[in-house]
Symmetry: C2
Subunit: 431 residues, 2 copies
């Protein structure tokens, strides 16, 4: 019965699109994942391996023997191999390399040389190239000899004998023009080309802005060395946004079924950092022990001051990080931005502090406490606004990810300074 | 001189790609934006208007007179008009409608009927359709009569006389096969089709998973009514991720140069909500006034307990929201997820609470206080983990955006319960 059940499951799994198999594998705990993986037909191995996230691929490779891995990798293109290589046992990589043609081996080595987050890291080598002095009829005949066009082919690249890129021939131009016309008369020469060392995020921004499907990658002297397609770019956009969300919570990519040890390593550092900053803030506050023991109500109000400063600063910071990501903030409009954020924050703070003052009066029945609360809250929200603008901008200026770390610094500033301002004002005016 | 300067600027602006003009307009304060907009050649008006974000479009339309708007809109397709219509004065919409053909008017009304975030809201009507019983040669001849193919055409749709979709003919199949072959022999029949009422996020997930460039949209009885292209999908992916980042900070889309009044309306409600929850938490803590006035050090430690619970819960919540977005969390693995998060949180909490206990001992020189700190911190982190899993899942179950509002609830829970647990334990064991 068990076996019959398994056969059914196998039939079902192998009737799916490789991308769906990958999604199912990603959604399963490790044991079940490896069990299902064994049922997947060897013909899908390569596609599924390339499709799954990095953290899942490891556990899949673990469940495969040498022979299966060799079989799966032997079908892959150079750029696909380059993506997979870091996860493979080194001796398998060596062996796979031996099976490649000289040209493919050169491409593999080239692709492996570029950083993961560069255009070189996401480009592929499957391109159709033609000369400029042939007629469209000749291009048509040439294409008919191919088994199929490479995925995401919306244009053909026009190169000279030295492989220098001269223009691009869109399939649209190829299809709507008469066959007698020459390539050079209908090719586009006003195209966007990428350098292999551009970042993948820059490439994604360009694809998004100009609605591209593919773009040529050229080297320093204008030779065509690869192309980037929208398929890779969509993954980059999704990964960038995932990373940003995770990094603001102090995490990296984590499988919801990853081993507990891995989750600990992922989460502990950031929590420990937060614990330290909270302890420092708490230490700052504890310097006002005498003040707080005289007026205990201050103890309950000080966390409101700290919290609202953090929340307000977080709004400013979110806006700035987003504007930085699309390149909308520069050194030139920095001052205008700070002034605007301070004004907006002051006005929201004024409204909020009236409510907070009312609450303070309600639990303390003291007008002076309410007034100190009001002043401290507005001041701490202004602290939040300054930190919210300056920290991400400074990090971006030094080439660091503006999201990562910014929120720790923001909370640290609004907590410590919030306590300091509130208890300091209270010590001066109330004691 | 001023005028010469302006002429130069005009020449420069109009040499740019409409997408670049849109980007520049988005990056400028309102006055400068409207000044530059007046320099943009009327020929680009339509493209730029369609390219800019909603909040910028309003200010551009403000700066145009009736005639300019009519001229710009008269060039647009039905689906583009439908996007723009909500921002236009109603009498202009009526007038533009009069200038359309019967077919275009029907499309415009259809497109305007679908919600913004549905497939119907992002589809366009520019498709090439062919019959299944013709040869590829006939298709070629038909295409050569077009001025160009619609943007993002990677496939042609094969329909019958009733416009029922029978299959799709990829340009690749069209180009690599011999002209004598009939369409029906090379068309794909295993294609993904969308319904106009699917959400745009579902469409984006499908495009991402299957690496699509375009997909047909069919009605309930299988008739082809439109198509969705990767150009629109990339915008949806980017907007979804922007929206998520903003909504976690309690904001909506905001121009960094939007009028201050607009910014106030955008930010104040969420800050007020946070102020209320912080006040309630502070009120909960103030019920322990006697305990705190006996041991003042508790006042400085309680904010650490509350803060770390919120941070830890935020990590869990970020992970769950992300997993929910790609459909990886279901009712079925809920229990496994909660158990895992509780375990991970307990272990991180154990490590962290040892550090926190050390700090507590350091500033209070009291072992009992350190032990209460330890227990309260672990307990509050577990509260954060439960809220971090359950709140987004519950919101998603009821069809609400899991990100929006979840973080307010999380902070509320970890603050109030953090104070309650810590001061409660202190009252029981230390007083």
């Amino acid at each position: 019965l068990q076996r019959q059940h398994e056969a059914e499951l196998q039939g079902f799994v192998n009737s799916l699109h490789p991308a769906d198999i990958a999604f199912i594998l990603e959604s399963l705990p490790k044991t079940e994942r490896q069990m299902i993986w064994r049922l997947v037909s060897a013909a899908f191995d390569a596609d599924v391996l390339l499709e799954v996230s990095d953290w899942v691929r490891e556990s899949l490779l673990e469940a495969m023997n040498r022979q299966d891995i060799m079989a799966a990798t032997s079908e892959m293109d150079a750029d696909e191999l380059a993506d997979l290589a870091p996860d493979l046992p080194p001796d398998i990589v060596t062996e796979v390399q031996k099976g490649l043609t000289v040209e493919e081996r050169a491409r593999l080595i080239e692709a492996m040389g570029y950083p993961d987050d560069s255009v070189g890291g996401i480009m592929d080598f499957e391109m159709v190239r033609v000369r400029e002095d042939v007629s469209l009829e000749v291009v048509h005949r040439y294409l008919r000899r191919l088994p199929e066009l490479p995925d995401h082919t919306d244009q053909i690249f026009v190169v000279d004998r030295q492989d220098k890129l001269l223009g691009t021939l869109s399939l649209s131009a190829l299809l709507v023009n008469e066959p007698e016309i020459e390539v050079r008369d209908v090719m586009g020469t006003d195209y966007l080309s990428l350098s292999p060392l551009d970042t993948d995020s820059d490439a994604a921004n360009a694809f998004e802005r100009y609605d591209l499907i593919s773009a040529p990658v050229v080297d320093g002297i204008g030779r065509l060395i690869g192309r980037v397609t929208i398929g890779e770019v969509v993954d980059v956009i999704r990964e960038d946004s995932d990373e940003q969300a995770l990094s603001r919570a102090g995490m990296q990519e984590e499988d919801i079924f990853a081993p507990v040890a891995m989750a600990l390593r992922n989460r502990a550092p950031w929590l420990m950092l937060n614990l330290c900053t909270a302890s420092i803030a708490s230490f700052v506050a504890s310097r006002f022990e005498d003040t707080v023991s005289t007026i205990v109500m201050l103890a309950f109000l000080m966390s409101i001051v700290a919290g609202i400063g953090g929340n307000s600063g977080n709004q400013t910071m979110t806006l700035i990080i987003r504007a930085l990501a699309v390149g909308r903030v520069t050194g030139q409009n920095l001052w205008a931005l700070i002034k605007r954020e301070l004004l907006v924050t002051f006005l929201v703070g004024l409204m909020g502090s009236i409510v907070a003052a009312g609450f303070s009066w309600g639990i303390s029945r003291s007008l002076p406490i309410a007034l100190v609360m009001m002043a401290a809250m507005i001041a701490n929200m202004l602290v939040g606004a300054c930190v919210g603008v300056l920290v991400p901008m400074t990090r971006a200026r030094f080439g660091k990810d503006p999201a990562l770390g910014s929120s720790v610094l923001l909370t640290f500033a609004t907590d410590s300074l919030g306590f300091l301002i509130f208890l300091g004002l209270a010590t001066i005016f109330l004691i």
